[in-house]
Amino acid sequence: MDLTKERLSREAIAMRIAREFFDGAVVNLGIGIPTLCSSFVPEGMDVTYHTENGAMGFGRVVTDEDKAQWADIDLTNAGGQYVYPKPGMCFFNHADSFAIIRSGRIDISVLGVLEVNEKGDLANWMFPGRGVGNIGGGMDLAFCAKRIIGATEHTTKDNKAKIVKQCSIPLTAPHCMDMIVTDIAVIKFTAKGPILKEVAPGWTAAEVQELTEAKLIIAEDLKDIELL
């Protein structure tokens, strides 16, 4: 197994996930790779972002060069990053924010992943090795958003599989994953099991399986990940 083989960047993972967005979609982006997705939404597509701390319809994360003019501690996303104001945005309290989530009004929730198993159970809140974790708002999203997409490197820093047979850390939500996009694969979770739909350019299904503990079903129409 060639572990030095080129993988997709974090931006490319975000780019692939952004292709799942649609005009009019209401999307919640978790901290990390998920936040990057907002930079790759096609021109002319109207995606509305929701953030747990009580805002919708705001713009992208403020760039470093814009911070002097645009950074405002009263306009941040769930990761505490500054975002641009945008016409039509609105604010609401935390109970209303989670009323939106719990009542199934988030079309797509993009979440980070620590482990996901064959059944689509997600575990992403307990820090590996620290014995502690932050549940935050991820559990509400994982249980209640219409569609959950995972965004992650395919393996841990020490090359352990993240797509496993059984999760070893506490779950965020059972049976919640719809799809996961990693730096080498796109996998869809189904009642039959996880289906490998796409691989990173230069990777084979067998190579992806080798870095995956869960048994993958190879899609008949398996193809290379397309980013645009």
Binding site: I31, T51, E52, N53, G54, A55, G59, R60, K67, W70, A71, D72, I73, D74, L75, T76, A78, G79, G80, Q81, Y82, Y84, P85, K86, P87, F91, F92, N93, H94, A95, S97, F98, I101, R102, F127, G129, R130, G131, V132, G133, N134, I135, G136, G137, M139, D140, F143, C144, P170, L171, T172, A173, P174
Partner: protein, 249 residues
């Protein structure tokens, strides 16, 4: 006698907080919406054995480094923490709260954020308990009642009230009506609803009638004391204007 809830100092506003109180603190990931000056006054006041309810346990390191309720842990005033995001994001820089929790000095009750918000809202709305779809099949189900509605599993969660709420708002009128600026709002309105004694830290205090009654976010009945911030903080804020709007972002 016209109602006037304005206090002249943060010290005076928190002067009677009792040992053993449960205290709501408006707080999310960054400095926006956190009542720093009330927290600082509570540290000086020194009430012990507090149960804090806040999204984080302070000093999580997700954004800027600043003095939030971590100072109450540093001063060993906390007995129990109810939070959704209590730990530092960096293993290398564990917060004071984290050390005290892991050492068993402070009890931790971790609650999913939406459930925490709803429990606070329920407490403020006179609702004893409710059934949420969040949590069945996870460790957060432990000790809770599971019940099915239309074939879907729900957990029973209890309303949560506090003795004191320390909240941050933008403007208050002297009667206690509050409005907020952007994402500063977060937990603050529901915490204001759910405490016996709500104390608000604000940028500006105006006369009754100066806040448009259609825009009031927290009705005056929920607020008992108001204190105006006079000290400048050096966080980026554009208070002098409404939110500017940047097209095409």
């Amino acid at each position: 006698m016209a109602i006037n809830k304005v206090f002249n100092s943060f010290k005076e506003a928190v002067g009677d907080v009792k040992d053993g109180s449960t205290v709501f603190i408006g707080n999310f990931a960054g400095p926006g919406g956190t009542p720093f000056f009330l927290i600082k006054a509570l540290r000086e006041q020194g009430a012990k054995n507090l149960t804090l309810v806040a999204n984080t346990a302070g000093g999580i390191g997700l954004t800027l480094d600043y003095d939030d309720h971590r100072i109450l842990f540093q001063n060993h005033q906390v007995k129990k923490m109810i939070a959704s995001f209590p730990f530092s994001t960096s293993a290398k820089r564990p917060s004071e709260a984290e050390k005290q929790i892991l050492a068993g000095e402070v009890e931790l009750e971790m609650v999913p954020q939406g459930t925490m918000a709803e429990r606070i809202r329920a407490g403020g709305a006179g609702i004893a308990a409710f059934y949420t779809p969040v949590g069945p099949g996870t460790v957060f189900e432990d000790g809770k009642e599971r019940r099915y509605f239309n074939g879907r599993p729900y957990l029973m969660e209890l309303g949560l009230r506090a003795d004191i709420a320390l909240v941050r708002a933008w403007k208050a009128d002297t009667m206690g009506n509050l409005i907020f600026r952007g994402t500063q709002r977060q937990f603050n309105p529901i915490m204001a609803m759910g405490a016996d004694l709500t104390i608000a830290e604000v940028d500006e205090i105006v006369q009754p009638g100066e806040i448009n009654p259609n825009c009031v976010v927290v009705p005056s009945i929920f607020v008992k004391r108001i204190v105006k911030v006079t000290e400048k903080t050096d966080f980026p804020r554009h208070l002098e204007t409404d939110f500017q709007v940047k097209e095409e972002v």
